[in-house]
Structure formats: structure tokens, C-alpha cells
Amino acid sequence: MNNGHVVQLENVSKNYRRGSETVHAVSDATLAVARGEYVSVVGHSGSGKTTLMNIMGCLDRPTEGRVTINGHEIQNEGEAGLTRLRQTSIGFVFQQFFLIPTLNVLENVSLPSLFAKRKLNGRARELLEMVGLENRLHHLPGQLSGGEMQRVAIARSLINSPPIILADEPTGNLDSRNADMIMSLFQQLNKDGATIVVVTHNPGIVKGCDRMVHIEDGRIQ
């Protein structure tokens, strides 16, 4: 399938067990994200946003339905195949940044390339310049502000040049000034051609997106 959509979900459901109860986290969801699109996914806590994002991020397989990421149907992929897709096709940005505290900024950004076995040739520096952290290359995460840490995380998500960026509440831990900065950065990345899917409660982010997807009780509205 290559109809201009880098993410395509068709009748996707995801159920999992919690004790004796079966949770229907996502039910019959159909969604297509075009290349270069900037999509926000909104919904209440427990509505299935994160599960949807995990499926799009090749971290989980659907119980039912078909998921195609950058031309690969993930239900047919083994563990190694999903790992490879995460290395090459997806960049993750999380609310908690997940920077390695003992590696400096430059090393943190370079880390995903280690697993993808890619040569960087200065790309980490370029990305850090792009997010305005060229003066912080050798700082440790503990020496950065929350906004700076999230910018490092964004630079890290781009290091393997993935066609898709998935962000889960990227401004959730930031004050409004830093949140604005991150929103501008996402918009800039999107203008430069990145496909971005962002799970958020932040109306500012939603306003800047091409499209909003609302999910409630596991169903896309």
C-alpha cells in the first residue's frame, strides 16, 4: 500500500486483560495519516490515545485489523521486524523526555543511531543547532531546563531521519513559555516535511495541527 499515507489503520481493535477483566482499549479504529500531515489525537484519560499511539509506533500489535506503517504491515512483522521499523521509520517524543542522565546532550541525541548502526557525519550537531541547543552540546541532562530537555528529545527523535514523528503529551511537563517553544518547533518540523502525530491535551498544539482526531472509549469519533 502506497497511497501517500505513511500511517494507515483499518478496523483496528486492541484488547488486553487486566486481572479477570478484558479491556477494549481501541475498537474498530480506522485512520490514515498522509505524508507531511500534522495530526493531533485528543481524548480523555483512558480513552485509548496511548494504545493507538503504541500501535502506530510498532510497540504493540493490534488484536484485530490491519496496520500499515511506511508501507509495512506490522501484523506480519516479527519482533526483529518491528524493531527495525522503529529504528528507521518512527521518531518518539515522550512527556518525560527519557534522556540518559550520564550521557551528554550530543551523546543522547546520537543514541538511536547506535542501535540502527548508522553513521552520523555531524547530523546530531545539525539537529541540535536546529533546536537551538548548539551551545549545550556537552551539557548533561541535569544541567538543562525542561524545555531544553524536550528539545534534545525532539532532536533525538529525528536522528535516524524517520518519516513519522509520534509525540505523546510533549508539552505535558513544561511551563507555557517552553510549551510554546516546543509547539513552534513541531510546526517548523511539519513545514519542513515531517509527518507528525501528537497525542495531547494542549489546545495550542491542537490549534496548530492540520487535523484533530478525537477518540473516546477506544473509538475514533
Partner: protein
């Protein structure tokens, strides 16, 4: 950026914990190194003393536990068993023998118990049997009251040729006729007397501690041993010097077993310590490991990362421990000397060497790496979605 750099940086998160884990392996490596040094050192020292330096191939001794008798003789005690001197003539005609040395060996401890002197009554055959029998000064006995001093005894007593030595225990005086060159063996600490003098001092005229035999050709040892055994009365023993040293080493075997149990305990503590530490390190970083999986770390990447962390600790701890063991081995040898109930050899009891250090290092490093496997598998099995959802 490399896996090793990431692994080493992870160890810096909790340097005290990393150091303590390394130290537990260092203790194991040091213990192993010391025990191996003692084990090989004691065996070598006993063999050197009783096989190489004595030049004796066979001992004729009396019935009883031959090992116990050998140990008593070797330690210089006055054995309750004795050999009749007239038996010596049986061997003098044997063409296979290079030398026949009857001797009387006994030890005298001072009344306050602070010093034990070893006396050996010998005949001139001693110079044919002992390969290191060389005089630093003087020579053979000039009278029944002569004494030849081992190098260390001459130093301690500060005596020279012609000077007199009084032995309070026997209320007897001896004249120094010779001083031996140092041979770093039992002889250094021995007073040599004419055989008849020694026998009369302890009231055992015509009686010997044993007869030492030196063979012309050691390849005929078994044949000669069997031949002598067949010709001797049933209550006599013919003991090879190798049997003698092996027997003494058997006395040491219980000490040896305790030492290896200590090593085992040290290893067990280390193993549980390392597994616990690395497991803690993995569990504390579940979210981070989950994130590493999100950004493309595969199972083998995580196995490699966690194993490298443990390997770094194992290499550092084992290296420190192996070196520490080399330093501590001589000290532990001296300590063991005080507690040995079996034969105490004259040479160094602990003999550390590069091979032992390398063995201790390799064994402990491998144990450390093996300990990383379970925590590494736990890390590799982390399901990122579950961790990110539940924590």
C-alpha cells in the same frame, strides 16, 4: 558513541554501588588467588624439602603409621619408633645404592617453649646424600663433641669455627667444626652432630630414626623398593621420598578443603551480590530501557549493554582482586605457618605467580559475566508498551 561508552556511563549513575559490586568480586579473586598460591606453594615447598633438597630416594623406618612417622621425623620430634643400627649393613652391599645414610633426628624445645632446636646425628654419608652439603667454613667433625651448624643457626648463635656452643637441655658443650652454606631448606636450621653422639644424648645408642638411601639410578626406584621390602623384617617400612611428601600433603588436605570452601563461600556471596545489583539496576531503569526499545534497541542490543556493564565491573574487580591476592599471599603464607599441624616446610608456603593471578582474574571475570545473563535477559524481555502504560 559505542555500546561500551553507554555501558560505562551507566555505571557512573551509582558509583558506590558499582564499586561495592566490583569489590565483592575483588574479594573472591583475592581469596582464590591466595588459596591457589598456598595450594601450589605448600606442595612445592614440601616436595622441595623432602624430595629435591634431601637427595634421599628411600627411607627405611619402623612399623606404625609411616606418614605419621615421616612427619615426626621431618618435624624433628623424637619418634617413639626406631630402627636398629645393625640393619644398615644390609644395604651397604647393594650395588643399586649410591649412598646409605643412617641418622638420628630429634628436637629440643626450651623450657619456656619459645624455641625448638633440631639436632641430627649423621655419618659422613650425609655429604653423598644431600646435594647442597657445602661448607661455608670449616669441615667435618673433628671429635665426638663437634657440631656442624646450618647457616641460619650459625647466624642466630653468632658462632664461628672453633667456638664453643653450650646446650642447656643436655648440659653439654660442643665445638663448631663446620658451618654449612645456606641452602634455604631445613638444613639451615639444623645442628648436625656425629651419629653416636646424637644417639647417646637421647639415650638411644644403637638406635636410628631412619635410614636414608640414595639410588644410583632413580628409574629403578620401584624395583629397589620392592627388593628391600622383601628382604626386611615385616615390621619395617620402605617409604619413597615422594610417598613421604604425598603423605604429608594428605595431612594438609583438610586445611586445603577448608580453604576451597572459603573460596566457594566468597564466590556465592559475589554471585548473589552481582545478580542482585544488576537486577536492581535493570528494574530501576525499566522505563528508560523501555524507551531504548522504542528508539530501536533490540533484544541483543540490551543484552549486550547490560552484559558490558557487568563485564566492566567484573574485569575491574577481578583485576584488583587478583593483584591484591598476589600481595596478600606471602602474608597469608606466614599466617598459615603458625596454624599448620602437618609438616611445616622451610621454603615459602605461598607462592604467587602470574599464572595464578591470571587464573583468578579469568575465573572471576567469567563468573561476573555469567552473573549478568539473568539481569540482561530480564532487560531484553521488557515490553515497552506495558512499562510505559503501567508506570
Amino acid at each position: 558513541m559505542s555500546f561500551l561508552k553507554v555501558a560505562l556511563s551507566n555505571l557512573r549513575r551509582n558509583p558506590v554501588r558499582s564499586m561495592l559490586t566490583g569489590l565483592s568480586l575483588a574479594v573472591s579473586a583475592a581469596t582464590l588467588s591466595v588459596v591457589l598460591s598456598l595450594d601450589s606453594g605448600y606442595s612445592s615447598a614440601v616436595t622441595e624439602d623432602l624430595v629435591n633438597k634431601t637427595g634421599v630416594h628411600l627411607y627405611i623406618t619402623k612399623e606404625g603409621c609411616p606418614i605419621e612417622a615421616a612427619s615426626v621425623i621431618a618435624q624433628g620430634g623424637l619418634s617413639p619408633l626406631y630402627v636398629e643400627e645393625d640393619i644398615v649393613s644390609r644395604f651397604e652391599a647393594m650395588p643399586e645404592l649410591a649412598a646409605v645414610m643412617p641418622f638420628k633426628l630429634f628436637a629440643v624445645t626450651t623450657d619456656d617453649g619459645t624455641r625448638t632446636d633440631i639436632f641430627m646425628g649423621v655419618t659422613e654419608a650425609v655429604s653423598e646424600v644431600k646435594p647442597d652439603w657445602q661448607y661455608a667454613s670449616g669441615g667435618w667433625f673433628t671429635s665426638p663433641e663437634s657440631v656442624i651448624l646450618g647457616a641460619e643457626m650459625a647466624r642466630i648463635e653468632n658462632l664461628n669455627i672453633g667456638e664453643r656452643m653450650y646446650v642447656e637441655h643436655f648440659d653439654a658443650e660442643f665445638v663448631v667444626s663446620g658451618i654449612l652454606q645456606r641452602n634455604y631448606g631445613q638444613d639451615d636450621g639444623t645442628f648436625f652432630l656425629p651419629l653416636a653422639t646424637a644417639q647417646s644424648l637421647v639415650g638411644r645408642e644403637g638406635k636410628l630414626s631412619a635410614v636414608a638411601l640414595k639410588l644410583k639410578d632413580i628409574s629403578h626406584m620401584d624395583t629397589v623398593q620392592n627388593q628391600i621390602r622383601a628382604s626386611m623384617p615385616a615390621d619395617y617400612f620402605v617409604i619413597g621420598s615422594k610417598e613421604l611428601s604425598d603423605g604429608i600433603l594428605q595431612f594438609f588436605s583438610s586445611t586445603r578443603a577448608i580453604m576451597f570452601v572459603m573460596v566457594g563461600v566468597a564466590f556465592l556471596i559475589s554471585v548473589f551480590g552481582i545478580i542482585n545489583t544488576m537486577l536492581m539496576a535493570v528494574l530501576e531503569r525499566r522505563r528508560e530501557i523501555a524507551y531504548l526499545k522504542c528508539v530501536g534497541a533490540g533484544k541483543y542490543d540490551l543484552l549486550r549493554l547490560i552484559s558490558l556493564e557487568t563485564t566492566a565491573i567484573a574485569v575491574a574487580g577481578s583485576a584488583v582482586g587478583a593483584l591484591l591476592g598476589m600481595v596478600l599471599s606471602p602474608l597469608s603464607g606466614n599466617l598459615l605457618r603458625k596454624f599448620l599441624v602437618a609438616y611445616i616446610p622451610s621454603g615459602a608456603i605461598a607462592r604467587p605467580d602470574f599464572g595464578i593471578a591470571l587464573t583468578a582474574f579469568a575465573v572471576c571475570t567469567l563468573v561476573g559475566i555469567a552473573c549478568s545473563l539473568y539481569p540482561a535477559f530480564r532487560a531484553a524481555k521488557i515490553v515497552p508498551m506495558e512499562v510505559l502504560r503501567n508506570e
